[in-house]
């Protein structure tokens, strides 16, 4: 059984990590990143053509994690697959030993490196969750019986910093009704705002895992503030980063990240660390934040 499910269902705090499959045919680097996360995470997200950039698929890398006795959270987006492909990939995932699935809409192709690609979106994320739940119940979305059924542990995402927040919360409720058993969030840098979000969704009684993106520089913070929906890095954190000499930035990143984790920890049931290449900092972050 999925350790992630076991821990979340028994009310334990979890740490999840994330790896991004590479743009190329060699997966050694991302498997190495996964090894760094082994002792510090319960499960590892494997992104699905993140930012709509062509890469190795999340299904293949998730399967490689299973082979290595690491637990993947297989990310599946609606961008590139119609309902036949989505359901087939889900059944394939189950056959490969993958239990946790994070159901996402997916970045639009225009954001990536194949801008002329046909966006599919035959389903949206709510419909995908419902489809996966239907498979769990032994049927496909057309109502045909399966000869055996999977038992996925389904997750979804939410953006606590969205403005307005209400449409996100309405959609979150629909995702829960469609079968989402846990949520991972967009990156959190403002624990106060996150707390007010949590107060609004407590009534749903579903585990929320706070997204934590390791901040690498002040420039990265400004870029996210200007370009990424739902992320606001406060000025004081940007200041801390910009005052830090380049050689000490990794140390500072550990300090800031661990502090945010300590602040959000009492509010939620886990943290999802997105290292964006600074995977080697994760052990120190976990130790310093006492998240484990």
């Amino acid at each position: 059984m999925s350790k992630l499910r076991e821990k979340l269902e028994s009310g334990k705090f979890v740490v999840t990590g994330e790896i991004g499959p590479p743009k190329g045919a060699n997966i050694d680097v991302c498997l190495h990143d996964a090894e760094i996360l082994r002792d510090y995470t319960t499960a590892i997200n494997v992104t699905d053509l993140q930012s709509a950039v062509l890469r190795i698929g999340s299904l293949a890398v998730s399967s490689k994690l299973v082979e290595r006795h690491l637990e993947p959270i297989y990310q599946l987006t609606c961008r590139d697959r119609n309902r036949l492909a989505l359901q087939s990939d889900l059944l394939s995932a189950w056959a490969l030993g993958i239990e946790n699935v994070l159901c996402l809409t997916g970045d639009h192709p225009i954001m990536g490196d194949h801008t002329e690609a046909k966006p599919v979106y035959d389903f949206d994320s709510v419909q995908l969750l419902k489809a996966a739940s239907t498979l769990n119940q032994g049927h496909d979305v057309s109502g045909h019986e399966l000869d055996s059924s999977p038992g996925f542990f389904l997750g979804a995402v939410v953006t606590p910093g969205a403005e307005p927040l209400e449409p996100q919360i309405i959609k979150m409720k629909k995702k829960i009704e469609a079968g989402a058993k846990f949520f991972q969030t967009q990156a959190i840098y403002e624990p106060d705002k996150f707390e007010s979000f949590i107060k609004q969704v407590e009534r749903f009684n579903v585990p929320v895992i706070a997204g934590i993106v390791i901040l690498k520089s002040a420039a990265m913070a400004r870029f996210m503030n200007d370009n990424v929906a739902g992320i606001t890095v406060p000025e004081n954190i940007i200041g801390e980063m910009s005052e830090t000499p380049k050689e000490d930035r990794k140390k500072k990143a550990v300090e800031i990240t661990a502090r945010i984790i300590r602040q959000v920890r009492p509010l939620c049931q886990g943290v999802h660390i997105m290292p964006l290449g600074w995977d080697e900092l994760v052990p120190d972050i976990i130790k310093e934040s006492e998240a484990q």
Binding site: R83, D122, F123, Q127, V157, E166, E177, A229, G230
Partner: protein, 239 residues
């Protein structure tokens, strides 16, 4: 209406064989509204092509005023009778109208050679005399009852049916920050109408077989039948 925009003139000239005799046909409905194939633009195209050495044997925008080129019976009468002399000389027809109009000219001329003079870009609302924009994708399976009349298939870049993705910033879409997020518009409208509860309802996946192509509509008395890969759908206006 079907929005169209003229193709670049050099692309059009590239379609023509040396010495090919061309008759130009516009449309007094949609293409006229788009300034791509009304009377002024069709006459202008004839002059532009002549200046570039093209052998234009005539042009017309079938009348009466405001009629669509895609009304076959009218277009046939105009091309074969009113302009019969010129069209008989033509090796081909250049159509300044939508793709439906191109096919109508094929039918109206009993299968003569046609060239597209426009790209057909979308079905839209003529908001002002110089601005047309898209609110409907012609999917054949309308769901705007639950979205306050605003179509998420069209207004959301990802055609999401159950609410916004996380990509909107300041109410603008992640694919184009100058464009409103379709779900922000739907949310604002439902909220203003006091019908936000509609947004909480699960919307099932679309029946894409009603969006199959080509589709047809047949009218008979008080009945209309829509044919698509979803099967024949007959609606009666009896009750």
């Amino acid at each position: 209406m079907h929005a169209t925009i003229q193709k670049p003139i050099d692309e059009i000239i590239g379609y023509l064989e040396p010495g090919e005799k061309v008759f130009i046909v516009g449309c007094d409905n949609c293409a006229a509204k788009c300034h791509s194939g009304g009377e002024p633009e069709t006459e202008e195209m004839a002059e532009r092509l002549k200046k570039k050495g093209v052998n234009v044997v005539g042009w017309c925008v079938p009348q009466p005023k405001g009629i669509s080129l895609c009304k076959l019976s009218n277009t046939k009468k105009v091309l074969q009778e009113e302009y019969g002399e010129e069209t008989k000389q033509a090796d081909s027809f250049l159509i300044l109208a939508c793709g439906q109009g191109i096919h109508t000219v094929m039918d109206a001329t009993d299968g003569e050679m046609v060239h597209p003079g426009c790209d057909t870009i979308f079905g839209g609302e003529t908001v002002t005399d110089d601005f047309i924009t898209e609110f409907c994708s012609l999917c054949g399976d309308c769901i705007v009852e639950d979205t306050g009349g605003l179509c998420p298939v069209t207004l959301c870049a990802k055609s999401l049916l159950n609410g916004p993705c996380g990509g909107a910033k300041d109410g603008k879409c992640e694919v184009d920050r100058t464009r409103d997020c379709g779900w922000q518009l739907i949310y604002d409208r439902l909220k203003a109408l006091g019908k936000l509860d509609k947004m909480e309802k699960y919307v099932p996946p679309k029946n894409n077989s009603r969006w199959s192509r080509p589709r047809s509509l047949t009218m008979a008395g008080k009945e209309a039948t829509f044919r698509s890969l979803a099967g024949d759908c007959t609606i009666s206006r009896q009750d």
